[in-house]
């Protein structure tokens, strides 16, 4: 019965139900159709979350209440205290990285960005866009950053603030940089908290780590400053999206009042996809913590 309904509604899905055409991407299409069909009616609206998610703008057709709920969920997951965080639903993981590194540069305009060679290209792209000095650190065979090389580079440039991108799952090998070890290096080199900034690129794994036993803990209880994660990977949102989360005090450094929007410009993009926030909210509400844990384990 479901197959008949699918056939009526979508040509692509019609191909998928024919045995000759079944492949993984078609299966994803079918699944997302079934999972998200309650939301398809909303595609007729031009939902735009322009401006800051936490401040009302002039545009009424938005999904900011759902976006804030998604941000609250991730803030809780990564152990941020109420009213100490800020974030938004991004276009993708890259935008989250661009935002995280922008905040880092605004906090430490003279800082040097350190990241492993196997880092996602968006991190070095951010360094290029923002004219930052960046150093690509060699990696260990499993893809983690080479901690000794990192320590040696930081030691060489002690007179400049340290900005580190910690990979929570590299693109090809899925390597996770050991945050605790990196923090130990900073402590050993006597770098005070106000002289370093840590961004975590958690595109895939950042939302899985809290559910994996014995996994290194990624949370804001540690001295990290921002996390970026993708929404279309682990959560299976049918459109590219992500989440950027950071400490609230850093965002103050980039915010600009925009009169004609009656809001504040704090995000990388201006107009933002309100559908994505709605889909993320729906996915998280349906799965719940138990559902995500089931998916991870």
């Amino acid at each position: 019965m479901k197959c008949v309904q699918l056939e009526k509604r979508c040509n692509v899905v019609y191909c998928a139900i024919s045995p000759n055409f079944i492949n993984c991407s078609h299966l994803v299409l079918i699944l997302s159709y079934v999972i998200y069909k309650e939301l398809y009616e909303f595609m007729k609206y031009s939902i735009n979350n322009l401006g800051d998610p936490f401040i009302t703008s002039n545009y009424g057709v938005h999904s900011r209440q759902f976006e804030c709920s998604v941000i609250d969920f991730f803030a809780d997951l990564w152990k941020m205290e109420k009213d100490s965080y800020w974030g938004y639903v991004t276009t993708c993981g890259t935008e989250g990285n661009l935002h995280g590194i922008l905040l880092a540069r605004e906090c430490h305009p003279d800082g040097i960005l350190y990241s492993s060679r196997e880092t996602h290209y968006s991190i070095f792209k951010a360094a290029r866009y923002y004219r930052m000095d960046a150093k690509a650190i060699p990696t260990l065979p499993m893809g983690e950053i080479d901690y000794d090389a990192l320590a040696s580079e930081i030691a060489k440039n002690r007179d400049r603030p340290v900005i580190i991108n910690v990979n929570i799952g590299t693109t090809v090998k899925g390597a996770v940089d050991n945050l605790d070890r990196i923090l130990r290096i900073l402590k050993t080199l006597d770098i005070p908290r106000e002289r370093f900034h840590i961004h975590c690129d958690g595109a895939l794994f950042a939302m899985m780590m809290p559910f994996v036993d014995w996994a290194p803990e990624i949370s804001f209880e540690k001295p990290i400053d921002s996390i970026a994660v993708s929404g279309h990977k682990m959560l299976g949102c049918p459109m590219p999206c992500g989440i950027a989360l950071s400490r609230k005090e850093h965002v103050k450094k980039v915010e600009q009042r925009i009169d004609y929007l009656n809001s504040v410009d704090t995000t990388i993009m201006g107009s933002r996809n309100g559908q994505a926030a709605l889909y993320l909210w729906y996915s998280l509400r349906k799965k719940g913590i138990a559902g995500i844990k089931r998916d991870v384990v």
Binding site: E38, L39, E41, F42, Y45, S46, I47, L50, D52, I55, T56, S57, N58, Y59, G60, V61, S63, Q65, F66, C68, S69, V70, D72, F73, D76, R105, E106, P109, D110, Y130, R131, M132, D133, N157, D159, R160, E255, Q256, R257, D259, Y260, L261, N262, V264, W281, Y282, L284, R285, K286, G288, I289, A290
Partner: protein, 181 residues
């Protein structure tokens, strides 16, 4: 010597341009008989955009920077310079306060609405979209106290229907003073 003359003439030219811009701004305001309070006027006339660390280095200082490694790569000068470049008034501390009036589409005054107008949400429907109701639960107990997604989405659909029944509306703030630009 030539460099010094060029540099000082550039500074003089910039100052003159700034003076003339200010005069034009004041004339426009008088002509249109606009009432601008102290806060608005300072925001208009100091409306230079800031481009923090991406500001290019001044030509004259380029060589000096190249000779000294480990000096700041960006062009952040002292705090005062940053403040001058900042187009955000120091007076605005709470960004949630609104300087202008929202557009008619935001408040929905139903101007031009025909028969397609959708009734406003009831108190219960509005409550369904409150932060408390749309929050994502982290425990089973919390989950049991929240409404189901379909009820929330039904209220949300009605809200969007109403908000978009007249016009999608681009979010202009109609009190925004374009003369100041």
């Amino acid at each position: 010597m030539r460099a010094i003359i060029n540099s000082s003439s550039r500074i003089a030219a910039r100052a003159a341009a700034r003076r003339s811009q200010t005069t034009i701004g004041i004339n426009n305001c008088n002509k249109n008989n606009l009432l601008i309070d102290q806060r608005t006027s300072s925001a208009i006339f100091n409306n230079t955009y800031r481009f923090k660390a991406s500001v290019p280095l001044p030509e004259d200082e380029e060589d000096d920077t190249n000779n000294t490694p480990h000096v700041s790569s960006s062009n952040h000068e002292d705090e005062d310079t940053v403040r001058i470049d900042n187009n955000t008034s120091d007076i605005i501390e709470d960004y949630t306060t609104k300087a202008g009036t929202p557009s008619p589409w935001a408040v929905f005054d139903a101007w031009g609405a025909g028969e397609g107008i959708v009734e406003p949400l009831s108190a219960e429907e509005e409550d369904m979209l409150s932060p408390d109701m749309v929050r994502i639960p982290t425990t089973e107990e919390e989950s049991s106290t929240l409404p189901d997604e379909s009820s929330i989405l039904s209220s949300y659909d009605k809200l969007l229907k109403r908000k978009s029944s007249v016009h999608f509306g681009y979010p202009y703030n109609l009190m925004y003073n374009h003369e100041g630009e």
